[in-house]
């Protein structure tokens, strides 16, 4: 492992991350305008169910999907809008002013540019240090925000989930701000214990899973703050569906990350499981997400109860990241917090 760090690339990485924060902030405003002045949505469950049945065998759904896909590229915002608000009664609503539709599309473009710059920052950090760019808490949080944004943007290509844009870009922007402000350490070689190919396997999986859980968490938070009445926010069913989908993908990846961690621990610490604080909280997170999936699949919990479970799991994920690194001392203390 090279001890030499390329200072130019390291500085570039730091600047790119600042640019990313600005881009996400503007994207968030665009998405928020789109939410606030877009069509109102109905929260009535009867209506949505009706809608999904009506759509089932019809080409309408395919059209909506295609529209959402093209919205991802920043054009054709109007049909995406139609797809998003689904079958909410048409006659009662005024068409939104055209600049609002553009706000949503512009936000999408900015989010993609922000994502590219963000990716650039991670890559330059890796190139500057000559190692995987997630060897300390700053790098880990930056990568996690990248995964969250990536998960959202990829979802947006396939599904009409633009309503999540405001909260996911806010979460990513705040996460990056926190990383830059409180966690930043100079680019440099990682701890000796991290010189292993396992970092590529274990930490990457943890990052991707966390990114998906952030998307689900964003849905959960909107779910709780939205009113029952017709509202500009997405319907509860939509939120639950997206959250569920993100967790269904994220959960096996998280399982894999924990198992890879155990394999690494077996190489590094002489046991594969030893109830280290990070292990305990990874386990708790795993159990609560498993509980969420069970509760939905079989106990038939829906709505508030399932969302609450999901958010508890999300809180323990965040606690593992921040709380455990800061409050507890364990084998897993690679966080390298700035003094």
């Amino acid at each position: 492992m090279p001890a030499e760090v390329d200072p130019g690339l390291a500085a570039l990485s730091d600047q790119l991350i600042l640019a990313t924060v600005v881009l996400y902030a503007i994207a968030m405003i665009g998405y928020a305008l789109d939410l606030a002045f877009g069509r109102a949505r109905s929260a009535s469950p009867a209506k949505t169910e009706e809608r999904s049945e009506a759509q089932a065998a019809e080409p309408a759904l395919v059209a909506a999907g295609a529209a959402a896909a093209s919205a991802g590229t920043g054009t054709a915002a109007a049909p995406a809008e139609a797809g998003r608000s689904g079958g909410a009664g048409s006659g009662a609503e005024k068409a939104p002013p055209s600049w609002v539709m553009r706000a949503g599309a512009v936000a999408t473009v900015l989010a993609w540019i922000g994502f590219a710059v963000h990716l650039g920052s991670v890559l330059t950090r890796g190139l500057a240090t000559g190692r995987w760019p997630w060897g300390n808490m700053y790098e880990f949080v930056v990568a996690m925000c990248l995964a969250a944004m990536g998960a959202f943007l990829l979802m947006q290509l396939r599904y009409p989930v633009r309503f999540l844009g405001a909260s996911v870009s806010a979460a990513a922007g705040l996460g990056l701000g926190y990383a830059v402000h409180s966690l930043h350490v100079e680019a440099g070689p990682a701890m000796v214990a991290l010189n292993s190919y396992w970092i590529a396997i274990h930490v990457s999986a943890a990052i991707i899973a966390s990114g998906l859980f952030i998307v689900a968490g964003a849905c959960g938070v909107i779910f709780l703050i939205r009113h029952d009445a017709a509202d500009h926010l997405p319907t509860r069913q939509e939120l639950e569906r997206v959250a569920h989908r993100a967790i269904v993908i994220g959960f096996p990846i998280w399982t894999f990350a924990v198992i890879a961690g155990a394999l690494w621990a077996d190489k590094a610490w002489g046991r594969y499981w030893g109830w280290d604080p990070k292990e305990i909280w990874a386990f708790i997170t795993w159990i609560v997400y498993a509980g969420y999936l069970h509760a939905r699949a079989t106990a038939g919990w829906k709505g508030k109860a399932a969302t609450a479970v999901q958010l508890v799991a999300f809180a323990s994920l965040l606690f593992n990241l921040i709380g455990v690194n800061i409050f507890f001392e364990g084998l897993h203390s690679y966080a390298e917090l700035p003094d």
Binding site: Q55, G188, I259, W269, Y272, I280, H294
Partner: protein
């Protein structure tokens, strides 16, 4: 575990009239119900939290001892609830054992049910397909044979009847689900095997010294209940060299870049010697017994003579690191054989020594650029080692020191080759050189591989269980034309898109651009 809800059975509502058997059945039903399993699952998570709050024995014994000396009464109370041994606590075991019993109680009947299901044919088409969640009108010229063939090509299991086709797929979901839970039980068993038949030992080895894998050579040895002391893998090695490299300048000055120990290993008595470079993340593996490098430090060497002129110590003294950033260390030397009185010596070891403004000395770098030893306490008298109370080699208890006679309380640092004469002809201390020590953990865990297999199976199985849906499709062909209906037996996602694809496939004999089930 997933199960049909049993909570509302009538015999549970009126438990009053139940006999012993009835109660047992009620208990079993409740235990194996979905809700109980969920509650136990959450309890399991909740119960592990204290393990992250309080220090745990076997993980951080030092901190437990610290807790006892800081607040003895609280510590005593915590200990009464096993809060320093959470993962060995009876209440913790109770939770996970109940959970696993509940899980098994749930998996067994479901496995038999699933095996029956797998052999059963898809049910005949309902009379009115348009009542189903998914429904579509098909091309009128479709025949039963065509429909059946096209559904088979989509990997449906198909049966036909007069004018109808019934098709079903997605059985792997339940298979995955069951396998996942069985794998979790397997994981618990593997962990149990490791705990019973495995052992762990810790030992500190100084450069130049050897190690042979027997219980007696360990500083600490934790065997499982079923481990026989004679069954330890009979390997041995000599620590030839240890090298650590550090970043020399910049903000991260002093951070370790790499460290490695060179071992000369003999796998079994009489076997040829081989070299092994032991590093973090690269343990030495001798037939499944693994040796890990987990810590390192300095062991300055001394030649110490007593008041009678005898050399009473010639060799290395491992010192404990007190400042990990600079490897400033503390050394304790006990010489029970010294004459006329026993000697006890406290010294600081500084690998890269610089003077401070206050007239003291400190270390500024973990490498040995300027190593010194500073004796800050030399005592003569009774070390109290013969009264039967075991003592740590790294410590002379304060109450014993108080009774000893101080000789030197603060000497100037000694460079390598320098000697300090103790006052009153009590002897001399010569700092002769610097060696390093490594701390090793040696483990044998026969449950490792089974645990890995179980965990891998569980992961694959949970993907099946989460991503596959059980779905049924029926086709009716009559005089008026053909129609199709479908439903999923498990919720989540929309079946609509896939159903549209199936309809297209039924109509055209191919399915352009339709993905198989997600």
């Amino acid at each position: 575990m997933t199960a049909t809800d049993t909570e509302t059975r009538p015999d549970e509502v009126r438990p009053v009239k139940l006999g012993a058997v009835g109660w047992a059945r009620w208990f079993w039903r409740t235990l194996t119900s979905m809700r109980t399993a969920l509650i136990l699952l959450f309890l399991f998570a909740l119960a592990s939290i204290p393990g992250s709050i309080w220090p745990q024995r076997g993980v951080s014994d030092g901190k437990v001892a610290q807790y006892y000396s800081d607040s003895p009464e609280l510590a005593e109370w915590l200990d009464r609830f096993w809060l320093f041994d959470v993962f060995k606590a009876p209440w913790f075991a109770a939770i996970y054992l109940l959970l696993f019993v509940s899980l098994i109680g749930c998996v067994l009947p479901r496995t038999t049910a699933h095996l029956r299901e797998m052999r059963r044919k898809p049910p005949a088409a309902p009379r009115n397909l348009s009542r189903l969640p998914q429904h579509a009108v098909l091309d009128a010229d479709l025949t039963v044979e065509e429909a059946a063939g096209r559904l088979r090509r989509l990997r449906f299991r198909v049966v036909t009847g007069p004018g109808w086709v019934a098709a079903e797929k997605g059985y792997l979901k339940e298979t995955g689900n069951l396998l996942f839970h069985v794998a979790l039980v397997g994981l618990l068993v593997a962990v149990g095997i490791g705990a019973l038949y495995g052992y762990r030992g810790n030992v500190l080895v100084v450069e130049g010294d050897g190690f042979a894998n027997t219980v007696a050579t360990y500083d600490r040895y934790t065997p499982g209940q079923q481990v026989n002391a004679e069954s330890l893998e009979p390997f041995s090695f000599t620590l030839e060299d240890f090298q650590a490299t550090y970043i020399a300048k910049g903000e991260k000055r002093g951070q370790a870049l790499d460290y490695a120990a060179t071992l000369a290993v003999t796998d079994s008595p009489g076997a040829p010697e081989r070299k092994y470079e032991l590093k973090v993340n690269e343990p030495l593996d001798v037939n499944g017994t693994l040796t890990y490098l987990i810590d390192h430090g300095y062991a300055p060497t001394f030649r110490i003579t007593d008041g009678s002129g005898q050399v009473v110590l010639e060799g290395a003294v491992p010192c404990l690191v007190v400042q990990p950033a600079t490897f400033a260390s503390e050394c304790v030397i006990k010489i029970p054989d010294a004459r006329p009185e026993q000697l006890g010596i406290l010294a600081a070891f500084l690998p890269t020594t610089v003077p401070t403004a206050g007239g003291e000395w400190t270390s500024i770098f973990p490498g040995t650029a300027n190593p010194t030893v500073q004796v800050y306490g030399a005592f003569a008298g009774d070390l109290g080692m013969r009264n039967g109370v075991p003592q740590s080699v790294y410590e002379i208890p304060a109450e014993i020191l108080k009774k000893m006679k101080p000789l030197t309380m603060k000497a100037d640092p000694l460079a390598v080759g320098e000697k300090l004469d103790l006052p009153g002809g009590a002897g001399s201390i010569e700092f002769t050189g610097v060696k390093e020590w490594i701390a090793l953990q040696i483990t044998h865990d026969p449950g490792r591989l089974p645990a890995l297999i179980a965990a891998g199976l569980a992961t694959v199985a949970v993907v099946f269980s989460l991503t596959i849906r059980r779905r049924r499709v029926w086709v009716r062909v009559g005089d008026g034309g053909a129609e199709a209906g479908g439903l999923t037996r498990t919720e989540g996602g929309d079946f609509g898109e896939e159903f549209a694809g199936i309809v297209a496939a039924l109509n055209h004999g191919s399915n352009p651009g339709v993905k198989d089930a997600r």
